[in-house]
């Protein structure tokens, strides 16, 4: 079998072996329901408490501000729907951006149908929110600002601290979707004035099906799932104990290695970007050149369509993703690439490569050589390239 090169770590990551190891006993040994009274249940309960503490510490938060969910999408849904409902008497206006994950955008559409007004901020050509535009969008009725910490497609990191300050000045709640950023960049909820933060376990070598919503003390958000006293009566349902344990372990690892891991990823990412831009003509980098997630590279190859590129990469054992329409099942390419001003045909030819802790320089070299070969092959059969070359001649 061909060696697999996994460069889609923004989609999900490999669960780290020590994370799996930490989880295993909570399936068959300490399987007690944390809500029960006997001592077997106490072990589960203790494990949850420990994970919660680890995670809270990572954000500079208090343990009782971390609410476990089934993932990032649930946390986003909860934050927006519950905040909108809780503060509806104050106003009905929400500000977000055009480049959010669909867990935010579709939830906003849902809220719009229920009488809320939503402003979708533009971003600049690098995908950065313009603070002046944000300030202008604020109305007396604005109750919530939700801006992602870092973009999942192009990796751009948003000016979260500045946005948090603006929100605070105006007395508006601030939520950030930190699904991509948590574990990759240091986050302090106090320093950044974050009121709510969504995160997901499987993006940082933790398990799937677990996430959390950070809710600042004092926020009166309704329960998202009714039916039990779990998560301080705010999220009913028997806790996903193995998931929570695994998530805690993953966060502990991510924090321990944050500096060295991201420094290594950043080096390899820059090497990848340098080589691709230098060696593949008619190519652009999407997202901010430097202020981006350490593991993210996103390119557009002119005259080439993304799905074709992905299938050919897959045949060489390389896992990647694209903002091409064909991969999303709709006719429009990625909303993020369109929001940074790319024309449709350029957006169709995008490729996202997201590195992981296990990525090596040899892998990057192989990927660059393979991308070069495939892009040329696809261009050789592209009528757009043919027209371009004939015009150029």
């Amino acid at each position: 079998m061909k060696k697999l090169i996994y460069l889609d770590n923004a989609a999900t990551t490999r669960t780290a072996p020590e994370v799996v190891e930490a989880m295993v006993p909570y399936f068959s040994e300490y399987y007690g329901n944390p809500s029960s009274v006997y001592s077997l249940a106490g072990d589960s309960k203790k494990a949850i408490t420990k994970s919660r503490e680890t995670i809270a510490k990572a954000l500079g938060a208090k343990s009782n501000e971390i609410y476990f969910t089934a993932g990032g999408s649930e946390a986003d849904n909860w934050a927006l729907k519950a905040a909108a409902e809780a503060y509806a008497s104050k106003g009905n206006h929400i500000i977000t951006t055009k480049i959010e994950h669909h867990a935010i955008l579709h939830t906003c559409e849902y809220l719009e149908k229920r009488g809320f007004e939503v402003t979708y901020l533009n971003v600049d050509e690098n995908g950065v929110v313009r603070l002046e535009e944000l300030k202008k969008a604020i109305r007396p009725t604005t109750i919530l600002i939700s801006v992602m910490f870092a973009n999942n497609e192009i990796g751009t990191i948003e000016p979260i601290k500045e946005i948090g300050e603006i929100a605070k000045e105006h007395g508006i709640l601030f939520h950030t979707d930190a699904v991509q950023a948590f574990g990759q960049v240091p986050i302090s909820v106090d320093e950044y004035h974050i009121d709510m933060l969504s995160s997901s376990g499987h993006k940082l070598n933790g398990p799937k099906g677990i996430g959390f919503l950070y809710i600042r003390t004092g926020l009166k958000l309704r329960s998202f799932i009714h039916g039990g006293a779990q998560e301080r009566k705010r999220r009913a349902g028997t806790e996903n104990v193995p998931g929570i344990v695994g998530y805690g372990k993953a966060v502990e690892r991510a924090l321990d290695t944050l500096e060295s891991r991201t420094a290594k990823e950043r080096d390899l990412r820059d090497y990848l970007i340098r080589r691709v831009l230098a060696e593949v003509p008619f190519t652009r980098l999407n997202g901010h050149r430097t202020n981006r997630l350490p593991n993210n590279a996103n390119f557009s190859f002119q005259f080439v369509e993304g799905e074709s590129l992905l299938i050919m990469l897959d045949m060489e054992g390389i896992c990647a993703s694209s903002g091409s329409a064909c991969t999303s099942g709709s006719l429009d390419p990625s909303h993020v690439l369109l929001a940074i001003g790319l024309p449709h045909e350029i957006a169709h030819g995008s490729l996202r490569l997201t590195l992981g802790e296990e990525t090596t320089r040899e892998e990057i070299d192989f990927v660059v050589e393979t991308v070069k070969k495939i892009v040329q092959k696809l261009r050789d059969m592209s009528p757009l390239y043919e027209d371009f070359m004939k015009k150029g001649r």
Binding site: S308, M312, G329, P383, E386
Partner: protein
């Protein structure tokens, strides 16, 4: 998600290229939607398609349907070629995922567009051939009007 046949035609597309001084050239689709197909036909004096080449910008299915369409028309008369439908292209590929059916329509249109170009160049009328509806700039023009 693709059949083995689709993957085969995508990995090893038949008849990729151009024909210089082709008898007919047809280009359909638009870059905005992510699919453009161009088919070149070399048609002899007996109206037989002696050679066919294609170039495609698009997804795996777009490449595979173009490749299969060229295989199906090669050696056929222009009237036989005209009868090749998108369904025939799909069947020859052992099917396409529902979201990719439009690629086979594009392949059918590309053949029709190339035949139309041939008919126009030679001042003839091919019974049953209508002016192809989509061309490379159609989408862009529509958008320009919308603004």
């Amino acid at each position: 998600m693709y059949s083995e046949k689709v993957m085969d035609h995508f990995q090893n597309p038949r008849n990729v290229g151009e024909i210089e001084n082709a008898s007919g050239v047809g280009t359909v689709g638009n870059a905005k939607c992510g699919d453009i197909m161009r088919i070149y036909l070399d048609i002899d004096e007996n109206e037989i398609i002696q050679d066919v080449k294609f170039k495609t910008f698009g997804c795996g299915a777009a490449v595979a349907t173009s490749s299969m369409a060229t295989e199906l028309v090669k050696g056929k008369s222009i009237y036989e070629a005209l009868k090749i439908t998108n369904k025939a292209v799909m069947e020859a590929l052992d099917g396409l995922p529902p979201v990719k059916v439009h690629c086979s329509l594009l392949a059918e249109e590309a053949i029709h567009a190339a035949l139309w170009d041939y008919a126009e160049k030679h001042g003839i009328r091919i019974e049953g051939l209508e002016k192809p509806k989509s061309d490379i700039h159609e989408g862009e023009e529509e958008e320009a009007e919308a603004y």
